[in-house]
Symmetry: C2
Subunit: 210 residues, 2 copies
C-alpha cells in the first residue's frame, strides 16, 4: 500500500510526522513524501528541514493521500499543479485525508464541496468559505475522506485509518509501540476546554480572522 | 533560550518532532538540530529524511538538551564524541531530557547513574543495566533531568517543560495551538492497558529481550 504525504515549505512538522509515525508501521505500507519540487522543505518556524524525495507527478495513484497544514497551505491552495494532482489522486485513492489546515487545500481542490469536514479550530470559518461544512470534531469521516482537527489530531486519525486498513489489532499494536497513552499536564487542547482568554488571544492573532 | 535536539540515522521522527512542535512555540526559543555529521538523517524505516543543520560541537552549551531514541540510539551509546558532548552540555544545561530510548544514551553517558528515569516500556531492563532506576511512568523528573516514555510521550514532557520554563499559561496556549486534545480510538497505549497477546508479541520481537 502506498501513502503519499504532500510536503511544502512552512508546513507544520507534526501534522505530517504524527500520521507518518503511525502509518509507516502498518504492514506493507510504503510512505512517499511528495512535493512539486523535491528537496528539503522547511517547517513553519524554519528551524527544521524535512525531505520530500518524490516528485508529485511520480505518485499519481497513491492508496492514501495525506495533506498536512499550516501557513504553507495558502500557497498550495493556489497551486494548480497541486490541486490537479489532488483531484487525480482522489479519483483512485482508497483514502483521501488531511490534518489541520490541510483540509483547506482539499477544499480548494473541490474535494470537500458540500461535505462535512474539520480543520484547525481557528480555520473553521475559512473551511466553510471554501465550500465544506465545518464540524468541530477531532476527526470527521465522510466515506473515504478523513479530515482531522489541528496538528496533533493526525495521530488519532492515523490510528483510525490503521484500524480500517489492517484491523483493530494492528492499530492497537501500533498504539502500544508508540506508547500513545496521552497524559497532557493540562486540559487546554480545544477551544471548549482552554481558558477563554487564551482562546480570545489566539483568535485575535489568527490569520483567518478578519 | 537554546534547545539542542540530537539527531542521528535511524531515529524515530516523532520522538524529536513531538517535543520540537511544542518547544519551538515557547517565546524566545531557538531550536538547533545537531549531529556529529550535519546533513540529512534518515528515520527508522528510511522513508523520511530530517535535517541536522548544526555540528554537535557548535552547540556546546544549550539551555535544553533533548535526546530522541530508536535503533540509531545504539550507535550513539558507543560514540565517545556524543557522550562527551552530552556530559559537557549537561554541566551547564537548564534541562537535560530524553524521549523513548534516548534515555539509554543519557545513561551511557553516566548522566542517569543511580537516578530514577524512564524509557520505552520495552527498554526498561536495559535502562536498569545501564545504571538508572527504571520507573514505569510517562515522564520522570529528577531535578533538571526529564526522561519520557515511548515515542508520543515527548509531547507530554515538552508541555511540562514549557510550563516550567514559561509558565502554565504559555504551556496551555501551546496545547491549544497544536489542538492537543487526544482522543485515541483504542485504549492500548501502554503495556498495562493493551491486550496481553500484543504485549507478549512485542516483547518477543524486541531487540532488548534476551
Amino acid at each position: 500500500m502506498e501513502l503519499a504525504i504532500l510536503l511544502f515549505d512552512r508546513v507544520t512538522a507534526l501534522d505530517a510526522v504524527g500520521p507518518y509515525e503511525v502509518l509507516q508501521r502498518v504492514p506493507g505500507m510504503t510512505v512517499r513524501f511528495a512535493a512539486t519540487e523535491p528537496g528539503v522543505k522547511s517547517t513553519e518556524d524554519g528551524s527544521l528541514g524535512i525531505v520530500a524525495d518524490t516528485l508529485l507527478e511520480d505518485v499519481p495513484t497513491p492508496d492514501i493521500v495525506l495533506v498536512p497544514g499550516r501557513v504553507g497551505e495558502l500557497a498550495m491552495r493556489d497551486d494548480e499543479r497541486v490541486l490537479a494532482w489532488l483531484r487525480g489522486a482522489h479519483e483512485t485513492s482508497q483514502y483521501t485525508t488531511s490534518v489541520c489546515t490541510g483540509s483547506l487545500v482539499l477544499a480548494a481542490a473541490g474535494i470537500l464541496q458540500g461535505l462535512s469536514a474539520t480543520t484547525h479550530w481557528l480555520a473553521m470559518d475559512e473551511l466553510g468559505r471554501l465550500g465544506a461544512i465545518p464540524v468541530a470534531e477531532r476527526v470527521v469521516q465522510h466515506g473515504k475522506i478523513l479530515t482531522a482537527a489541528g496538528v496533533s489530531s493526525g495521530i488519532d486519525m492515523a490510528l483510525m485509518l490503521a484500524a480500517q486498513i489492517a484491523g483493530d489489532d494492528v492499530a492497537r499494536a501500533i498504539q502500544l509501540s508508540i506508547e500513545y497513552d496521552p497524559q497532557p499536564p493540562f486540559d487546554a487542547g480545544s477551544p471548549s476546554s482552554a481558558p477563554e482568554h487564551l482562546v480570545t488571544q489566539q483568535r485575535r492573532r489568527s490569520r483567518f480572522e478578519t
